[in-house]
Amino acid sequence: MVSKNRYAMVCASNMNRSMEAHALLKKHEFDVGSYGVGSHVKLPGPNQKSPNSYSFGTPYKEIFADLAKKDSDLYTRNGLLRMVQRNMEVKLAPERFQDCREAYDIIVTFEERVMDQVVDDLNRRPQQLFRPALVVNLDVKDSHEEAALAAPHALRLCTLVEAAEEWEDEIEAAVEQLFLETGRRAIYTICFY
């Protein structure tokens, strides 16, 4: 299946929530990318005050090696290594949404703050293509479990949108349908490239 829309999954660090959804949508043959919006990729460290921080663009492979070198046991226990390993199978490196110049039809965010940053970035860009982009937010806590729960919801939403001939006509119904099915309320807005 070749999806007629292009999808972007966006979270803070392009590590957990967006990649979980990216992996799932990719598995279902959606044309999908994933991004983060933070200034750096931040991962939990040995304690709250010393997180692991990487620049966007650092390959997942390098992140994996670095984490394994620092404390293999700890990062195995907290699931970080498995998560990064999963990411390695999806794409090369975390990407930053603000640096991306590809145009997407549907942008799914997983936190309202992230949605605000995405919308702000799109509004700042000069409009040249006049191509609409739907930005939808699903509030998801940044944990392995919640990300795993939310990814199927994102897939469901994208499936509903994909089924519509023009998403503008169906997005309201799709959001409502998603709420009825999963109890997850999606909020959306429309931007233009």
Binding site: F130, E165, I187
Partner: protein, 1431 residues
């Protein structure tokens, strides 16, 4: 070659696409084609579009969609007339398509089409074909809009809204859109970067107005449709479109905002984050969020037109529950303004420093400073960013089309080149160079030469011409006055009066620029004054008289004159190459060989014409005086300089001899530059317009940009500010200023004697001339005025009063000046001297003398009672000034005036300051800052000002209160004279927290609250009474005792007061740190009843710090005396492990946050004093220890309930006990025999708190089955409970049980006492065993058991169904005989009763009573149910 290759490829692909029958493949091929002919070689587009347009009849939807997109891209990348024409036809067909996707893309492509057509027409406005094309494009656009409005699909409507939004923005821009693409760039060469004027702006504005109205109508329709009916998607796009237009076109904001605010108020939408948004649907919250973003962006844009609306926008945000967005937007504005002020001050300081370093260096571009006096801010702004100013404020801030400001380096380069060309004297080269300059750069060059412009018009205006009239002697009044914009008060009083025309000029023709100007000033509401579109396109673009019928004369603009005064033709250097003569005056720094003259006075050079043949300015080392051409009686024209009365001087002749030294009379020299440049600078007439000729030469008419990128108002401001630098640059300036100051002095005296009539005049003058940083002339004049009033008062009344009051107040001139009291007292006769000198000072005009006057009056002022001047003209004037400056939001000015005024009056000034404090925000800061200065500088005011500050420190507004507290604690408390009063006030305020019957009441604290019984509505209210005291505790730790004394009454305090005290204690402890002696002292000895506050302080102090040995010892003593283990909990990190274990039974009795904090300290690394301390236990160790108290000797001392509660808290603290720790602890306990009593309970809660542990637990259960867990009754009950409440997760484990055990579980006998499964779980298990989900192979004995369960279930169901049927039948039968008509209700109730009994019958008598001795029973069940039901 490459082009041919690309063409060949494209042809091949096109042929393949035409032959292709499969839709998707066809689209793929066409995408490749567009890559080639649009992106790679846009020039090929015209060749292929005719072949591609026919694809609009293709049956495959994707192809038609592709075509819609392709046409838009072609217009965007290659907007040649041919492409635009072909696209117009193609889109006309696609707009009629039945598929909404195709129409949607066609609508978006229309935007590209309009941009392209507009850009092309701007390049060649007179081209008939382009005019026709534009007309067609507009027709298509109108048609597209109509289609979108009536279309049933939201996607099309959304695209229509976007099209309309872009039409409004494009048609109201100041300039035409820039066109990308190779074709275009090659055709217009160097002019491609120059913004072009919008062609036929009037007609376009009319169209924009119509589209805007359409958008608003659509918005209102959506709004009126109400919630649930209107499309959220469309509404969101409409909101974004309206706010986008409002921000980019500030002139239209007033039309758009009311609609948005009305929707916010009455639409019922809420933004996310609001509590009221919780029950709303996602679509509704999305609309609320769009409103929030739109309104916030309008506030944040800081456009002038949004300022009056700001409060209402904030209110509207409140309606949608977005108060936080409003707050953050307002804070954003404040931050931006602060940054700008800071940058401005920094820039000023830098310029001042540079000026000091290079005192003789001439000012830079814009000539803002000369002789140390600042030019008007408008002039500086104009010089630095005139284009931005014009675009941003007048035309709606079209960022894209705003003319760029030439960078400093580029401008310097241009100036250097100009100087070099001038040095060569090559007139042709100069003309060619200038004609190739971008207009924006040319404007900056002119601005650079502004100091060289003449002060006024030449004395003889007989050489002037009026553009558009042939009579050179007809000079309109407006023209003359506007080209001589020297403000009346700046003119030398004896300067020759402005020559004004006698005859009335004929009405000026409406020029192109006038039309534009009127459009700008009219806020785009010009539809009624502009002609229809078709006729407007055929008007002449520049200057020429338009068709009279097509135009209505707009009102005369307030700015520049419509007419242009230029020198006569005969004196112009060349009509073919109109070189602005102003450029011929070289600034000293720009000419390469002028370095030797940099320190000379401003030099003015002859025109290029004058240079030819003379090489006048090229001689190095020439006497600077020689450069001054055009003395008082000469005028330099474009053809050279000449003595005015003697008529013209031939081009190329030698220059007139240098003028004599300026005469004593301040006649402003006319320095040789004709006035007309001011005229075209103002944008009132085109630069290249030859004099007196109705038509322009064809070769220069449309191809080059002909209008300066200055808007009308910006030009006007430039003209208005232009002469000032000239004034200041004049050598006669000193004399002029002396006389001006003399005039101001006289004005001050007049205002003092007749404040009613002249006061307002003075006020206006002061405000106008006020400079925020230094006060400038405004402050000087205000001082003069107040001095005059002050002296007048003293003369009339002051002598007796001051004499009598001198002993009591003398000597108080600032803190630390008390030692001078005696000296000043001895100088009691100073008043008379001061009066005498002040009278004399009225004749003094220099700054030094004026300062000495102020200094002289200061002691007199300080000796006056502050109330003496109440209700006098002096106070009236002072308050008038202060209030006016306040009204104009001149904060620095208010502060400056308060400090510089000769005397302040007590009630009036205090009331004024109190008003500022009550106003809050920045004004409160100003008032507090002023109060601080008054405390330090004006002793009579010290008490009142301190009282103001202290009252504010206990005020109602948190922000102001915080500022006042900081002021007191950081500065005022350091003054020994003030400390006692401050502490007294703070103590009195603190005592308000204590009920009146106990505490000490005081009258010196704010009187409005608190109530007599010291009850508070909130913690915030209580905080205001202890905030100052707690802050003082940090700088004066000895005051801690007072706080503890107050806390000792916390038992009878209002809870809000107690909470406020606790918060204050935490803040103090963190600030004091763990090593504070006062804290240690408090721990050792504290008033009874204050323990909780002291404990809180210890806890806060040791947070992140290693406790000192003394503190630990003191706490240990406390514990031993009181057995209060809470004091030891914060210190566990510093205690030995053995001591901690011995304390553990008591520590585990802590609850809630306290015990979680304890666990965190025990089981996680602590960073204390910058180093990491390893934890005493690992999380899993601690968990195991909690389950096995016998291992650390706590079994006897800890009750099971305490342990259970502690474990529950641990399992709810994932930050300390992550799921890995849970798993590790469970694994460790699994190996123990017997299992810990609370083992299964912990497993159940672990699964709840960490669902990902289910796999782990499943394996654990399997192992427990192999260990015959059913033998341990308590654990077995927990096992079944876990299985029962985890849906089917662990059913596979049950299927591994031996048959007897499983049978006892699922088919218990009525008398069994063993744990068993509920019947519905048993049924589920039976169904699960036979489903595909079951991964375990079921053995046949087990299967038989499960079949029995199912059979029993079916029997029960059948019996129940029969019972229901029977009951229903019975009821129905009974209803037949019921004559009262109540059968329905009876029937319903009976059926319900039977149905309810059905479920209960299935499990009657199946569960025995729980074992009372079993610890995993009721509590666990309760926990279990609560937690899983929550899930």
């Amino acid at each position: 070659m490459a082009l041919d290759h690309t063409r060949a490829n494209a042809v091949q692909i096109l042929n393949e696409a035409k032959l292709c029958q499969e839709g998707n493949q066809k689209v793929t091929l066409l995408s490749q084609l567009s890559e080639l002919v649009v992106r790679k070689e846009p020039g090929l587009s015209p060749e292929f579009i005719p072949d591609l347009v026919v694809l609009q009849l293709d049956s495959f939807l994707g192809v038609r969609k592709w075509l819609s997109t392709f046409l838009g891209e072609a217009c965007s990348q290659c907007p040649s007339p041919t492409v635009l024409e072909l696209t117009t036809g193609g889109l006309a067909g696609l707009l009629q398509d039945s598929a909404p996707g195709v129409v949607k893309q066609a609508l978006f492509s229309c935007i590209h089409l309009i941009r392209g057509a507009l850009g092309q027409l701007a390049l060649n406005p007179m081209n008939e074909e382009l005019i026709s094309l534009m007309e067609n494009v507009q027709k298509i656009a109108s048609s597209a809009v109509s289609i979108s409005v009536t279309h049933k699909n939201d996607s099309v409507k959304v695209a229509g809204v976007k099209l309309r939004e872009n039409m409004v923005l494009l048609f109201t821009a100041e300039h035409a859109p820039r066109l990308p693409g190779n074709v275009l760039r090659s055709s217009i060469s160097s002019c491609s970067d120059v913004p072009l004027k919008l062609p036929s702006a009037a007609a376009l504005a009319q169209e924009a107005d119509a589209q805007l109205r359409g958008l608003l109508d659509m918005f209102r329709q959506q709004q009126q449709a109400g919630q649930g009916v209107s499309s959220g998607t469309l509404l969101i796009v409409l909101i974004k479109a309206l706010s986008g237009i409002g921000v980019q076109r500030p002139g239209l904001l007033g039309r758009l905002l009311p609609s948005l605010m009305l929707l916010a108020k009455e639409g019922g939408y809420r933004a996310s984050g609001s509590e009221e948004a919780v029950p709303l649907r996602g679509g509704e919250v999305s609309v609320g969020n769009a409103l929030r973003l739109a309104l916030s962006s309008i506030i944040r844009s800081r456009i002038d037109t949004s300022v009056p609306w700001r409060d209402r926008i904030v209110e509207a945000l409140g309606h949608i529950g977005a108060e936080d967005a409003a707050d953050s937007s307002l804070k954003y504005i404040q931050r931006q303004e602060y940054k700008e002020q800071k940058a401005s001050k920094s820039r000023n300081r830098q310029e001042s420093a540079e000026a000091e370093d290079q005192p003789n260096k001439r000012p830079k571009v814009g000539g803002s400073l000369t002789n140390g006096i600042a030019a008007p801010a408008e002039a500086v702004s104009m010089a630095l960013g005139h284009a931005t100013c014009a675009g941003g404020q007048l035309t709606g801030g079209s960022e894209v089309n705003t003319p760029p400001v030439t960078s400093a380096s580029d401008l310097q380069q241009v100036m250097t080149l100009l100087g070099a060309i001038l040095a060569t004297g090559d007139r042709t080269m100069l003309a060619a160079f200038i004609s190739n300059l971008p207009v924006s750069a040319l404007a900056d060059v002119v601005i650079h030469h502004m100091p060289n412009l003449p002060l006024g018009p030449p004395s003889s205006l007989s050489f002037m011409h009026v553009v558009g009239t042939s009579a050179t002697s007809n000079i309109s009044t407006a023209t003359t006055s506007n080209t001589l914009p020297v403000p009346q008060h700046q003119r030398p009083p004896h300067a020759p009066p402005t020559q004004r025309p006698v005859s009335t000029p004929s009405p000026p023709p409406v020029t192109w620029q006038q039309t534009q100007h009127a459009r700008l000033q009219g806020g785009y509401n010009i539809s009624s004054t502009y002609p229809p579109y078709s006729s407007a396109y055929r008007q002449p673009p520049y200057g020429g008289p338009p068709p009279q019928a097509a135009y209505t004369q707009p009102p005369p603009p307030p700015g520049p004159p419509p007419n242009l005064i230029l020198p006569p033709q005969s004196v112009l250097p060349s009509q073919q190459h109109p070189v602005p003569p102003v450029l011929l005056a070289v600034p000293p720094a720009s000419a390469p060989d002028m370095t030797a003259q940099q320190h000379a006075p401003p030099a003015y050079l002859p025109s290029a014409a004058g240079l030819v043949g003379t090489a006048f300015v090229t001689k190095p080392g020439m006497d600077p005086g020689m450069e001054r051409v055009g003395g008082p009686n000469t005028q330099v024209t474009g053809a050279g300089s000449r003595s005015q009365p003697q008529g013209h001087q031939k081009v190329g002749t030698s220059v007139a001899p240098p003028p004599p030294a300026p005469p004593a009379a301040p006649h402003v020299p006319s320095l040789g530059l004709p006035v007309p440049q001011l005229g075209w600078l103002s944008g009132s007439a085109p630069r290249h317009l030859p004099l007196g000729q109705p038509a322009l030469p064809k070769d220069i008419r449309p191809t080059a940009p002909t209008a300066l990128p200055l808007s009308a108002t910006a030009g006007s401001a430039l003209v208005g500010s232009g002469p000032e630098p000239l004034l200041l640059a004049s050598e006669q300036l000193a004399e002029l200023r002396r006389r001006a100051e003399f005039g101001e002095l006289l004005l001050a005296r007049m205002a003092a004697s007749d404040p009613k009539d002249v006061g307002q005049l003075m006020l206006d003058h002061v405000v106008k001339e006020w400079k925020d940083d230094t006060g400038g002339e405004g402050l000087q004049v205000a001082e003069r005025w107040l001095n005059a009033l002050f002296v007048e008062y003293i003369t009339e009344h002051g002598q007796q009063k001051t004499t009598s009051e001198l002993p009591s107040t003398s000597g108080e001139r600032g803190l630390g000046h008390d030692d001078k009291a005696d000296k000043k007292g001895k100088e009691s006769g100073i008043k008379e001297d001061a009066l005498k000198k002040e009278v004399d000072a009225l004749n003094l005009v220099t700054n030094d003398e004026r300062h000495s006057l102020s200094t002289m009056l200061a002691p007199v002022a300080s000796t006056l009672s502050s109330t003496a001047l109440s209700e006098t003209p002096y106070e009236e004037a002072l308050l008038l000034l202060l209030n006016e400056l306040w009204r104009l939001e001149r904060q620095e000015a208010v502060k400056l005036l308060l400090l510089q005024a000769p005397c302040l009056t007590l009630p009036g000034t205090v009331n004024f300051l109190q008003s500022l404090i009550d106003h809050g925000g920045d004004w409160a800061s100003v008032a507090l800052s002023a109060a601080r200065s008054l405390i330090q500088e004006r002793p009579p005011f010290r008490s009142a000002a301190l009282d103001l500050v202290l009252q504010a420190a206990a005020g109602l507004v948190p922000e102001t209160r915080s500022k006042a507290v900081r002021l007191v604690c950081n500065q005022l408390i350091r003054e020994p004279q003030l400390e006692a009063a401050i502490v007294q006030f703070a103590s009195a305020a603190l005592s308000r927290l204590v009920p009146k019957s106990i505490g000490v009441s005081s009258n010196i604290i704010p009187s409005e609250v608190p109530p007599s019984d010291s009850t508070f509505s909130s913690q915030e209210e209580a905080t205001r009474f202890c905030e100052l005291y707690s802050a003082l505790c940090v700088v004066r730790p000895a005051l801690l005792e007072g706080l503890a004394e107050a806390a000792a009454h916390s038992g009878v305090m209002d809870p809000a007061a107690t909470s406020a005290l606790q918060t204050a204690a935490v803040t103090i402890a963190r600030a004091l740190g763990v090593k504070s002696r006062e804290l240690l002292s408090l721990v050792k000895q504290h008033p009874a009843g204050s323990e909780h506050v002291v404990r809180t302080m210890v806890d806060a102090a040791v947070n992140g710090e290693v406790p000192t040995v003394e503190l630990v010892e003191a706490c240990r003593c406390w514990y031993l005396q009181s057995q209060d283990v809470k004091i030891m909990a914060p210190l566990v990190v510093a205690l030995p492990r053995a001591e901690v274990l011995s304390l553990m039974p008591h520590l585990l009795q802590l609850q809630g946050a306290n015990i979680r904090s304890l666990f965190k300290k025990l089981a996680t690394p602590q960073i204390l004093s910058g180093s990491t301390i390893e934890p005493m236990f690992s999380p899993s160790e601690l968990l195991v220890a909690l389950h096995c108290p016998e291992e650390w000797g706590g079994l006897a001392d800890v009750s099971p309930i305490v342990l259970r509660n502690a474990i529950s808290e641990a399992l709810h603290a994932p930050e300390t006990f992550p799921q890995q720790a849970l798993a590790a602890a469970i694994s460790k306990m699994e190996g123990r025999s017997p299992l810990p009593q609370l083992f299964m309970r912990t497993v159940i809660l672990a699964v709840k708190s960490a669902p990902t542990l289910r796999g782990f637990v499943s394996e654990l259960l399997s192992r427990l089955v192999s260990k015959q867990i059913w033998l341990d009754k308590a654990q077995w009950r927990g096992f079944l409970m876990l299985v029962e409440n985890s849906d089917r997760t662990f059913f596979s484990v049950l299927l591994q049980l031996p048959k007897p055990v499983l049978e006892a579980c699922i088919l218990p006998s009525p008398t069994t006492t063993e744990p068993y499964l509920q019947e519905h779980t048993a049924i589920k298990l039976a169904l699960f065993a036979s489903s595909a989900e079951n991964p375990v192979q079921v053995l046949s004995p087990i299967q038989q058991l499960l079949d029995m369960v199912l059979a029993r279930y079916r029997e029960a169901t059948a019996a129940a169904s029969a019972a229901v049927d029977q009951a229903v039948a019975a009821v129905a039968e009974e209803a037949k005989h019921d004559k009262n008509g109540s059968s329905c209700s009876l029937l319903e109730s009976s059926a319900l009763e039977v149905a309810e009994n059905l479920d209960s019958n299935l499990g009657i008598g199946r569960r025995d009573s729980p074992d009372e001795t079993d610890i995993v029973d009721d509590d666990l069940k309760e926990d279990f149910e609560v937690e899983f039901n929550d899930d």
